[in-house]
């Protein structure tokens, strides 16, 4: 009896499949009310609803797709209000099933996607967007989402999307993804092509997928398949090796740029006047706060320019911190030049004062920064190397700062004065260089550079009143190692410390890396107490 019924069912299904036009190849029409009910159910029911949505995106009729697309988005955004009679799409206040306007009864509950269901819904949403979004950029973004999980893409979705795609470039990308997804297809030629496609983007994940194929029966049976797998493995491994090397270099460079930014201002102040400025870290912090204030100001005055606050804040951050530096020099430090220990204590007091002043005025919480597009996310380059924009911003910023500082010190009369005073203060005074003014201006320059450091670091680190303390030790390490008062020394020391840190960290951990770097610096200074690049000539 049971057997007969299922046989009948099968026959019916086969008949339906044969007879139905391709657009209606689904075994049954979408149960709209049932789907909405599942969307409001427990985690298991929501998972089933997600799968139904993804399947609808691939194989549903046009009306069903148009109907279901907002549901996936609403579930992700928690904009679906479940009440006793079903659910309401909160955007527009429409009933989820009938799409007629109605208000929710009682207090609607917005179901939360579990971690397991979230990728299913995101995939469904992307699938709808790939086939239905009018904006090509939105379709390209959807394709990117699908690429993350090639194994979950519903069958035939990509074929249908490619058929309907009008943008030639995007169509090609879809085809590529479709070929990649054929890794476990039945056709050996399609599989070999898929292996080649996967190997084009080498990464550890790709390697895991390809090396799993070595256990496939086809690997033993089919020599062509075997050759393709071996070639792909070799190619991916090479890609990973290059990527890892680039990543280490990039990480080292990025850390070096941070160290350099923190240290360059100090190098000038310490090099010129021999003043150990312990408030340098707080000037960095103030630079970050000024950047934040510029952002808030733009938000109020010119919201259109908000994305560019990091650029617009450059002169402001520099001038404000430079002014603080000049004021500090004029009011406090110039009385203490003959007493280095006192100037150290005085700058420490200033550092505590600035920190607590900011704490009282702004509070201790982390400041909230807009993240403009040019410091968000990253691009995968090769292997597992991702080029992150916020780090790139810091590196570019450091390079620019270096170039400008170098030009200022080497190519301008002011720089000439600074160098003269650094080399021999008394002789410089004798030949008529106003050393007092040079001191003040140089202190301002060093402080202003600290302010720029704060600006460059704000997209990377949390900005709060204590942030400056993190940098002062590292900055001194760089300055002392580089040789007091030389820009080249600061650059080389920052690059060296950054790179060594990044090399040690994966081997022995971050804690050991800090200790080892410190030991290395101590050992080096035993050998060369002047640092890497000692200023030649007589000092004081």
């Amino acid at each position: 009896m049971k057997l007969a019924r299922s046989a009948l069912l099968l026959a019916g299904l086969a008949g339906a499949l044969l007879l139905a036009p391709p657009a209606r190849a689904q075994a049954q029409a979408l149960d709209r009310a049932g789907l909405v009910q599942e969307l409001c159910g427990d985690a298991g029911a929501m998972g089933r609803a997600g799968a139904t949505l993804a399947a609808t995106a691939a194989a549903g009729s046009d009306e069903d797709r148009a109907w279901a697309a907002p549901l996936a988005r609403a579930a992700i955004d928690r904009k679906l209000g479940c009440d006793e009679t079903g659910a309401v799409l909160e955007e527009g206040g429409l009933d989820a099933v009938t799409r007629t306007p109605r208000a929710a009864t009682g207090t609607p509950r917005a179901p939360l996607l579990s971690l397991r269901n979230r990728p299913v819904f995101e995939l469904g949403d992307a699938a709808f967007a790939l086939r239905g979004a009018p904006d090509p950029a939105r379709r390209a973004a959807a394709l990117k989402t699908l690429e993350r999980r090639p194994a979950l893409i519903p069958e035939r979705l990509l074929d249908r999307a490619a058929e309907a795609e009008t943008d030639a470039g995007l169509k090609e990308q879809i085809d590529t993804l479709a070929q990649t997804a054929a890794l476990n297809a039945a056709d050996p030629a399609a599989r070999i092509r898929a292996i080649g496609r996967v190997a084009e983007n080498p990464s550890r994940r790709a390697l895991t997928r390809i090396s799993a194929l070595a256990r496939d029966p086809a690997y033993e049976a089919n020599p062509e398949f075997r050759a393709a797998v071996d070639a792909a493995t070799a190619r991916i491994e090479r890609g990973i090796a290059i990527g890892d090397a680039l990543a280490t270099l990039y990480n080292g460079l990025s850390f070096a740029s941070i160290l350099f930014m923190a240290a360059i201002g100090l190098a000038i102040i310490f090099g010129l006047m021999g003043v150990i400025n312990l408030a340098q870290g707080e000037l960095i912090m103030i630079g970050a706060y000024v950047t934040w204030l510029v952002q808030q100001g733009l938000r109020a005055v010119a919201p259109g320019l908000l994305d560019w606050y990091l650029i617009l804040a450059i002169p402001v951050a520099f001038l404000v911190t430079a002014a603080i530096g000049i004021a500090l020099e004029a009011s406090l430090l110039r009385h203490l030049y003959k007493r280095p220990l006192m100037s150290l204590l005085a700058t420490w007091a200033v550092s505590l004062f600035l920190m607590n002043l900011v704490r009282v005025v702004f509070g201790t919480q982390n400041l909230q920064f807009e993240t403009p597009f040019y410091v968000t996310g990253g691009v995968p380059v090769i292997g597992d190397f991702i080029f992150t924009w916020n780090r790139m911003f810091a590196i570019a910023f450091a390079a620019l700062t270096l170039a400008l500082t170098w030009a200022l010190v080497r190519r301008t009369p002011f720089g000439l004065n600074i160098r003269a005073v650094t080399q021999n203060r008394d002789m410089a005074a004798c030949i008529g260089i106003p050393t007092r003014r040079v001191d003040m201006m140089a202190f301002g320059l060093g402080s202003g550079l600290a302010g720029l450091a704060g600006l460059a670091l704000s997209p990377i680190y949390s900005v709060n009143p204590q942030m400056g303390q993190n940098f002062i030790i590292d900055a001194f390490m760089v300055v002392v190692l580089g040789g007091v008062g030389t820009i080249a020394g600061t650059v080389v020391a920052a690059l060296g410390i950054g790179q060594i840190n990044v090399l040690i960290e994966p081997l022995w951990g971050a804690v050991a890396a800090k200790v080892i770097v410190l030991l290395m610096i101590i050992a080096f200074l035993q050998w060369r107490p002047e640092g890497l690049f000692a200023v030649k000539g007589r000092r004081k």
Partner: protein
């Protein structure tokens, strides 16, 4: 430079001698501490400066708020509560020093304080020696049971393990591989030791996890996030990150994690010390779905939570508190519970003497803002709390993904470590 002239020195020492010799002649505000009718003092040990300031600082105000609430109802045993605040400056030995000062000089009846376990461990010998009471409002590594500490928040068995179980289960993500990243001190190391023991007991091989530690205040997570990606891409099942870094390392880690393009659906992060306040400066749209686990989340349902949130918002506004009035985190609620639990015990005992108050712990219950009725037994100084698993949303908060049916009985000593 302050210079003591002989005259002023003599004056000062003379005053001090008079003060020491005749306590009865001391001015009224000094006598208050000893008098039976004056306010009873409570001490706070939360940093207002240093790396923990952003988190610990707000707890001072919550303790004050709870004390005000109790005072408004007539105080305890006929006396009002006076809250004293210190600043141990995120410097661990300073916590012990401040505790000693509060106990010996100010004669406080109970201490409320510490965030990191390392600070609790430094205060522990002080409170044991002085036979005082410390209410500790953080969830922690367990493996400690002093009669002088009230562990108001949960040990791992009733916070971390349910969350890890959830991740490993069908409803979660069937996690198979674990990257443990922590700050280098006792809490992360003990938690990770217990987790490893737990996984071993489940027959999970050692190759399925990796452990890394960073110094306090560490913020350059580029290389570590690279390592996490490499670990995840090795295959072998769903990877998760068990994050036990503390303080400002949390937002810095999450920012780098998102910037390298990793989403919660790729590698979820279970941030054991992550609270709403850590997300304050972040763009959370790319962090949606990462998890934390606490005994309270701001989105908890119920009138007790509504009342608490209203009170806090009102208190922040009225007293110009330098913290957000719209953010409420678990340790705040636990500190709030602490004051009430202490007041109830003192009222039950009819005394402020530590031995009497301790005896009154058994059978105390309190309607916590989390919606659970938290309770204490006479067995130990732990408090039974509910468990929440939160999921980061795009509004810098946590949605409740899962919560326990009741309050599991706290287990002080873990069988797994």
């Amino acid at each position: 430079m302050v210079k003591f002239s002989r005259r002023s020195l003599l004056q000062a020492s003379g005053l001090a001698a008079v003060g020491l010799a005749s306590p009865l002649s001391a001015p009224a505000f000094l006598r208050g501490a000893q008098a039976q009718s004056g306010p009873v003092k409570l001490g706070c040990l939360f940093s207002s400066s240093g790396t923990m300031a952003n988190l610990e600082g707000r707890l001072n105000y919550v303790v004050k708020m709870a004390a005000e609430e109790i005072n408004a109802k007539g105080g305890v045993n006929g006396r009002t509560i006076d809250v004293l605040v210190s600043d141990p400056a995120s410097d661990w030995p300073l916590y012990a020093q401040s505790a000693k000062q509060m106990l010996q000089q100010e004669k406080v009846s109970a201490l409320f304080g510490c965030w990191t376990s390392v600070s609790r461990k430094t205060v522990l010998p002080v409170v044991e020696q002085e036979n005082a009471l410390l209410y500790y409002p953080l969830h922690f590594e367990g493996d400690e049971n002093s009669k002088n500490v009230v562990y108001v928040n949960s040990p791992p068995a009733s916070s971390v393990l349910p969350a890890v179980d959830y991740l490993m289960g069908e409803e979660g993500v069937s996690a198979k591989r674990f990257f443990m990243l922590g700050s280098d001190y006792v809490w992360p190391r003990t938690i990770n030791k217990q987790l490893k023991g737990y996984w071993k007991s489940k027959g999970i091989p050692e190759s399925a996890w990796k452990e890394e530690y960073v110094p306090f205040g560490f913020s350059n997570f580029q290389t570590l996030v690279n390592q996490i990606r490499a670990f995840a891409d090795e295959g072998g099942g769903q990877p998760v990150v068990i994050l036990t870094v503390v303080g400002n390392s949390i937002p810095d880690f999450m920012r780098e994690f998102a910037n390298q393009g990793i989403l919660a659906t790729d590698i979820p992060v279970l941030g054991l010390d992550m609270v709403e306040a850590d997300l304050e400066g972040l763009d959370t749209a790319k962090l949606v779905g990462h998890l934390n686990c606490w005994a309270y989340l701001q989105n908890a349902k119920g009138p007790a939570n509504e009342a608490f949130l209203n009170n806090w918002a009102g208190y922040v506004k009225a007293n110009n508190v330098p913290f957000s009035g719209t953010v409420s985190i678990d340790p705040m609620v636990s500190a709030y519970d602490s004051v009430h639990l202490w007041a109830m015990a003192a009222a039950k005992a009819g005394s402020f003497d530590v031995p009497e108050v301790s005896k009154a712990f058994a059978g105390l219950t309190f309607d916590c803002p989390s919606g659970y009725k938290i309770s204490m037994t006479g067995e130990n100084n732990y408090v039974a709390r509910g468990v929440f698993i939160g999921s980061v949303n795009d509004a810098q908060g946590f949605d409740i993904l899962w919560q326990s049916k009741d309050t599991p009985k706290p287990v002080p000593f873990s069988p797994y470590g």
